[in-house]
């Protein structure tokens, strides 16, 4: 664990440094408050700090205030070290944003125990942040395929359309539906159907650029958003995706299965775009035409949509 120590007294600084290194801390030692504030206020700066109260340039409480101002988003555990021990001093130190204080000369065991308290609080915060991130992931991704879920892919499409309008670029929207998927489930069972969906998700992700979006739109429907795309290439990009999906049979527990996909394609040009619901409705209609044309093919919705 990284820790910053700041003290203008060279003895105290070295003593702290050695005491902390001995128990495995990665120590940054500085001799004044300004340097302490600089180190601590970096976004990836240490999250534990031991600050002497009396220091040149910036004193300990001033460093505390600076840290609280600049790194408000995350907890940084700050212990003030002081030979001041009046109640008024202690209250002033804590009010400036310190979490704890230690009177010097300090006892090494007390110092370590107080730092462990700080680490417990930091660990608690890490756990909460991780739990929040997991919940966010679950709220935005499909559990079977790990693709973006319907809510998230539509949100991203809306954002992308706004950006495309601002930058006068073209967004290509592709809605793909697995051909005869019900037959796969009915013939081989749902676990095999799930295997097919997972493998198709991998193939879809492998056939787009890293900054394009792929989401599971419905049961066996996938929505692909190609950002900043040349409208003249919309059909050829869709064709590449169709081939990537259907070129080789999908390996399943019940053997290799030939799987294909029909795709509706829509190129939305910058300028005043259609409402997202209309775009989704139009691309769904194009998909319906692809199904009607015999499946395993792509159909484009009208001419590229300009403005309305």
């Amino acid at each position: 664990m990284r820790i910053l120590i700041a003290d203008d007294d060279p003895l105290s600084l070295r003593l702290l440094e050695r005491t902390l290194e001995r128990v495995g801390y990665e120590v940054t030692a500085v001799k004044n408050g300004r340097r302490a504030a600089e180190e601590m206020c970096q976004p990836e700066g240490p999250r534990l700090a031991l600050l002497d109260w009396v220091m040149p340039e910036l004193d300990g409480p001033a460093v505390c205030r600076q840290i609280r101002k600049d790194r408000g988003g995350h907890h940084v555990h700050i212990i003030l070290i002081t030979s001041k021990d009046s109640k008024q001093d202690i209250v002033c130190g804590l009010e400036s944003g310190a979490d704890d204080y230690l009177v010097k000369p300090f006892d090494p065991e007390e110092l370590k125990a107080r730092l462990r308290t700080g680490q417990r609080i930091l660990q608690l915060e890490d756990n909460l942040v991780e739990a929040r991130e997991q919940m966010h992931y679950k709220a935005t991704h499909d559990p079977l395929t790990s693709l973006l879920n319907r809510g998230m892919i539509v949100d991203l499409l809306v954002r992308e359309l706004i950006r495309a309008r601002r930058e006068k670029t073209c967004t290509v929207v592709i809605l793909g539906d697995v051909d005869h998927f019900k037959a796969v489930n009915d013939t081989y069972g749902h676990p095999v159907g799930d295997e097919v969906l997972r493998e198709l998700s991998r193939r879809l992700l492998g056939s787009v650029r890293s900054y394009d979006f792929v989401g599971r739109y419905g049961g066996e429907e996938f929505l692909v958003v190609l950002n900043n795309c040349n409208p003249a290439n919309a059909m050829s990009r869709a064709e590449q995706i169709r081939q990537a999906v259907g070129q080789t049979p999908v390996t399943t527990a019940k053997g290799p299965l030939p799987i294909t996909m029909s795709l509706g394609v829509l190129a939305s040009l910058g300028g005043e775009p259609k409402l997202v619901d209309e775009i989704l409705s139009d691309v769904d209609h194009a998909l319906y035409e692809a199904k009607g044309a015999g499946r395993n093919c792509c159909r484009q919705a009208g001419a590229p949509v300009l403005t309305r």
């Binding site: 007294d9 105290s12 003593l15 030979s83 010097k104 090494p108």
Partner: protein, 120 residues
């Protein structure tokens, strides 16, 4: 505390060895740091007294007090603390007398450290 026993008159060695967790190399390093810093710290105090600047006297005495306390040099540390507090409350007339008591302690400690390091 064997090799350090020559310093027992000035420093509370059991307490000091606890503070460095028995690390004698670290203790030698701290003593050397003190010796290195002492002339400038004393000069700062003397200059502040000569200039009659109570704020500077308080800061200089505070710094000396901190170093001496870390070395468990109880006697000298308590005189430094008294100088600091006299300066803080504005009791300037008390300060020269305290310095007269403080200086010999510091000089004796520094001499003991010199001979300790020469022998080590």
């Amino acid at each position: 505390m064997n090799s350090f026993s020559a310093l027992a008159e000035f420093l509370n060695l059991p307490e000091l060895l606890d503070r460095v967790e028995g690390d004698e190399d670290l203790l030698r390093e701290l003593l050397a740091l003190f010796q290195e810093d002492l002339p400038a710290s004393r000069e700062a105090l003397q200059a502040a007294i000569a200039g009659g600047d109570l704020g500077e006297i308080e800061r200089a005495a505070h710094r000396l007090k901190g170093m001496l306390a870390n070395l468990s040099a109880g006697g000298a540390a308590s005189f430094a603390a008294e100088i600091e507090s006299a300066a803080r409350v504005g009791n300037a007339p008390k300060i020269p007398g305290l310095v007269q008591l403080f200086d010999p302690q510091i000089i004796a400690l520094s001499a003991a450290l010199d001979s300790f390091m020469a022998s080590a």
